[in-house]
Structures are given as structure tokens and as C-alpha cells.
């Protein structure tokens, strides 16, 4: 039933698009069929698959870096009052720095390199992860802490059975919000300073005012990221909550 409703709403959207395209200039709003034809052509010539692959690799690497560092930082902030007091202000500063500024500075300081691109994406995402994980680490159940101390849980047991399960829902939330943030920022980063990737391609076709190509690229990339969320992150979320 839920799937049918989703499918129906998708079809209605496509139909509306088709109708609107019939009345609009084909250069500003191409029909869905024209976009589909472009996607097929671009996949066959190999350009699109390569660009999406490159972008996904950037998203993946910066995602892993931001998640692992952000989780460590967040747990530290949530567990240590001193660390929280010391690092709260720098965290707020980074959190409120526009993605564009971080990106430009990364390119200026590290050169127009792959490292700079990945650092820029990771640095944009890291504070979000840290803030979410801090909430999780602050909210640890004091009753379970007392139980663990009473039964002399060793450090490994405590981490595996008391700490991590309480942080898991927060980690999954951070991952899901993080991945949608990362793939939006990675396009900007590519647009400014990379010679390939989806962001580069969209900028390239924008220069040519090829709206068909811009829409085609964004639709395919959105589909890939949605699939990742549905097929990987949502099942992970369900697994983490299985005991509820």
C-alpha cells in the first residue's frame, strides 16, 4: 500500500512535469522523455558513470572520515565536561561557517587538490556528527551505569554492551543526516575546484545552458543517494532498533 502510494505520487509528478514542459520553452524546461534520452546517451558514452563514481568515492571517503572523527569527538564532549567547555565554541564556529567559506579556504590552504576537496566535505559534516553524538553520550542511562559498576563490567564489556548500544541510534541518525549533507556539499566542492564529478558536470552543462543535462545529472545522482539511504541506512536503522 505504501509503495503503491509512493509510486502513484511519482507518476503524478512526472505527468505534471510533462504537461508543464508542453507549454514551456524546451530549452528552459525539457520534457521527461528528453531528459531520459540524455541520461541513456550519457551512460552509454561513459561520462555519467565515471562522474558519479568519482563523486561517490569523494562522498564515501569524506563520510567515513567525518563519521569516525565526529563520533569520537562527540562522545568525548558528552562524557567530559572540561572537553565540552573547551571545545564548544570552536565547534559552534565551524558549525556556523558557511560550506562555501570552508570549501574556498580549504582550496586556498591545501591547493586545488583531491585532499582539499575531501577535507572540505569532511569538515563541513564533522560538527553535525559531533553535536548529535554529544547528545547521545550525555543521555546515557545512569541506572545502567550503576548496574555496570556493581557487576564490575570490564572496559570492553561496558563499551560493547552498555555504551555502544545506547549510542547506536544517534550514530545512525548522524549517518543519515550526514550523508544527505555530504552529497550536497560535495557538488559545490567539485563545482569550485575539481575537473570531474557530478558537480563539475553540472557546472559544465550550466555554462552551455543545457538544462536537460543539468536535470538529468541531478535526477540520476539523487536516485543513487536515495537508493543508498533506502537499501543501506534504513535497514541499518531497523537492525539497531530490533529489540524495541
Amino acid at each position: 500500500m505504501a509503495v503503491a502510494a509512493r509510486l502513484a505520487s511519482l507518476l503524478v509528478l512526472l505527468a505534471l512535469w510533462q504537461v508543464a514542459a508542453a507549454f514551456a520553452d524546451a530549452r528552459t524546461l525539457p520534457a521527461p522523455s528528453a531528459v531520459a534520452a540524455f541520461v541513456v546517451r550519457e551512460i552509454e558514452t561513459g561520462g555519467m558513470l565515471f562522474n558519479i563514481g568519482v563523486t561517490l568515492a569523494r562522498v564515501g571517503i569524506s563520510f567515513v572520515i567525518a563519521m569516525s572523527l565526529g563520533m569520537l569527538l562527540g562522545v568525548l564532549l558528552g562524557r567530559s565536561r572540561l572537553a565540552d567547555r573547551t571545545l564548544d565554541t570552536p565547534l559552534l564556529v565551524v558549525l556556523n561557517t558557511p560550506a562555501l567559506v570552508i570549501t574556498v579556504l580549504a582550496y586556498v590552504w591545501l591547493g586545488l587538490t583531491e585532499t582539499a576537496a575531501i577535507v572540505a566535505v569532511a569538515l563541513n559534516k564533522l560538527p553535525n556528527v559531533a553535536v548529535i553524538m554529544r547528545e547521545g553520550a550525555r543521555g546515557l542511562d545512569p541506572g545502567l551505569e550503576e548496574m555496570a559498576r556493581t557487576y564490575r563490567f570490564d572496559r570492553r564489556t561496558w563499551v560493547a554492551h552498555v555504551l555502544v548500544p545506547q549510542l547506536q541510534p544517534f550514530a545512525v541518525a548522524a549517518a543519515r543526516s550526514g550523508i544527505s549533507l555530504a552529497w550536497k556539499i560535495v557538488l559545490v566542492v567539485e563545482l569550485i575546484g575539481r575537473p570531474n564529478g557530478v558537480g563539475f558536470a553540472i557546472n559544465y552543462y550550466f555554462q552551455l545552458f543545457d538544462v536537460t543535462a543539468v536535470i538529468g545529472y541531478s535526477l540520476v545522482f539523487m536516485t543513487v543517494m536515495l537508493a543508498l539511504d533506502t537499501l543501506v541506512l534504513q535497514p541499518l536503522d531497523a537492525h539497531v532498533r530490533r529489540w524495541r
Binding site: G143, L144, E146, M147, R149, T150, Y151, R152, F153, D154, T157, H161, V162, P165, W243, R244
Partner: protein
Amino acid sequence: MRMSDAGADGFAAGRGSVSEPAVLRVRVDRKVYRTRRSEPVEAVRDLAFTVAAGEVVCLIGPSGAGKTTTLRILLGLDTDYAGAIEPDPRDGAAGIGMVFQDPRLLPWRTVEQNVRIALPRARRDRPLDALFESLSLTPWRARYPGALSLGMQRRVALARALADEPRLLVLDEPFVSLDDAAAASLRALVIAAVDRLGMSVLMVTHNVAEAIEIADRLLLLSPRPASLVGTVPLGLPRAGRSRSWAEATRRDLAARYPGVIAD
């Protein structure tokens, strides 16, 4: 060495004879809660008692009298007090199995995992079939605690406390918030486990009838700050206690300690 008159008195009068060594000696001279905003609150003053090997002791006092505070101190969860606990809870394994008032199970681990995780790593794979069977938990071993009623969760908490064969079982209001049937069956399980395994028990409760049914000795606490107002050995063996005897004992106690025990 005797810690105080009250403790030594009760010790000698309890079921355990004087020659039996104490599994626990508690002496809390003073415990004060200090908060930044309000006046300091004195929770415990000059409270001393011992629990002998194989003895079942019930700590009885009004709500908010500092009973749970005393338990937290002897478990080593609260170290900000004046006094001494033997064996010192900071010295590694204390041989205490604890059943908290709220069961405090790990909801993301199964019943069996909850029991095994609380065992020291070296003994984690020991056979537990007999333990689960004795507590009628066998069909629930692979379930998560969230699927269990409070009474069943308390049973799991009891299994966890018994799994490492402690010298002392500590129970904090174990039968509170249960319906009569669930409380009675859990009480029977506790008594059966104690009779079978022969460990000492320290139980905190505000229910006098319950304590009279189980205990070898009652320790009566005053309202805050908690101190000992009376030590009452119950001579009759548990198996020989009748309903009328329990009722008579309770009335007698209410007459002798009107401030602690209500009619």
C-alpha cells in the same frame, strides 16, 4: 572486631551463631548530600550492622529514610561518606549479587545475554541451564527484556545476581509494584534460591509483612537521618512460620516501634 553495640547485638542474636564469620560489615558514621542550591541533607547517621554467613537480614524503614543510600554505599557506588565497609567494595570482586528496584536490564540484549554479560569474562560460558530452569526462565532465554512483564524482568535480574554464586544477595524493594500473585511467586523463588544456595541476603523493604515472612533478623531504621532503632531476631525457622504467627509478630513490633512500623 565488632563495629558497634547495635550491630554486634543483632549479630549475636541472629540465626547465624557468633562463630560464623560476617560476610558484610557496614558502618556509616555519616552521609550527607550536599547540593549547590539547597541546604545539605543528612541521609544516614551512625548506622552499623553486620550480615552473617547464611543469614537473611531485612532493612526496614520509611520511604526516603536512606535505605537505598545505604545500599549504594555498600555496593561502592557512593564513596562520599564517613565510615567503613568490609569487605571494601573498591577491592575488586565483592561477591555481591545485586537486584535493583528497577530491574536495570540491558534492553538491547536477550535475557540470557543479560545474565552472561554480568559474569566475569572467564566464567561467561558456564552452563546456566539449571539456573534458568529454577527461575522458570527457560522459555524466555532468547527474548528481549522489553517483551517481559516487570515480574519476569525482576526474575531475570535475580538470575543475573545469582549467576556468579555470590556470598551475599542484595535486594532493593524486590517485590514492590507487583501484583499479589507475581510478588508471591517471586518471593517463593527468592526463598527457594536462598535455601538451595545458602548465601546471605540483605533485603531492603518498607513492607513489614514481607520481611517477617523471609527474614532471620529485622533491622529497623529511623526516618532520615537513618540510624538503627531496633534489631529484631525472628527465632522461628522460615518453614514453620504460620500466618497467625506473622500477624502476631507484626502487631507486637508495631506496639514496640510505633514510629517505624504502622498498624
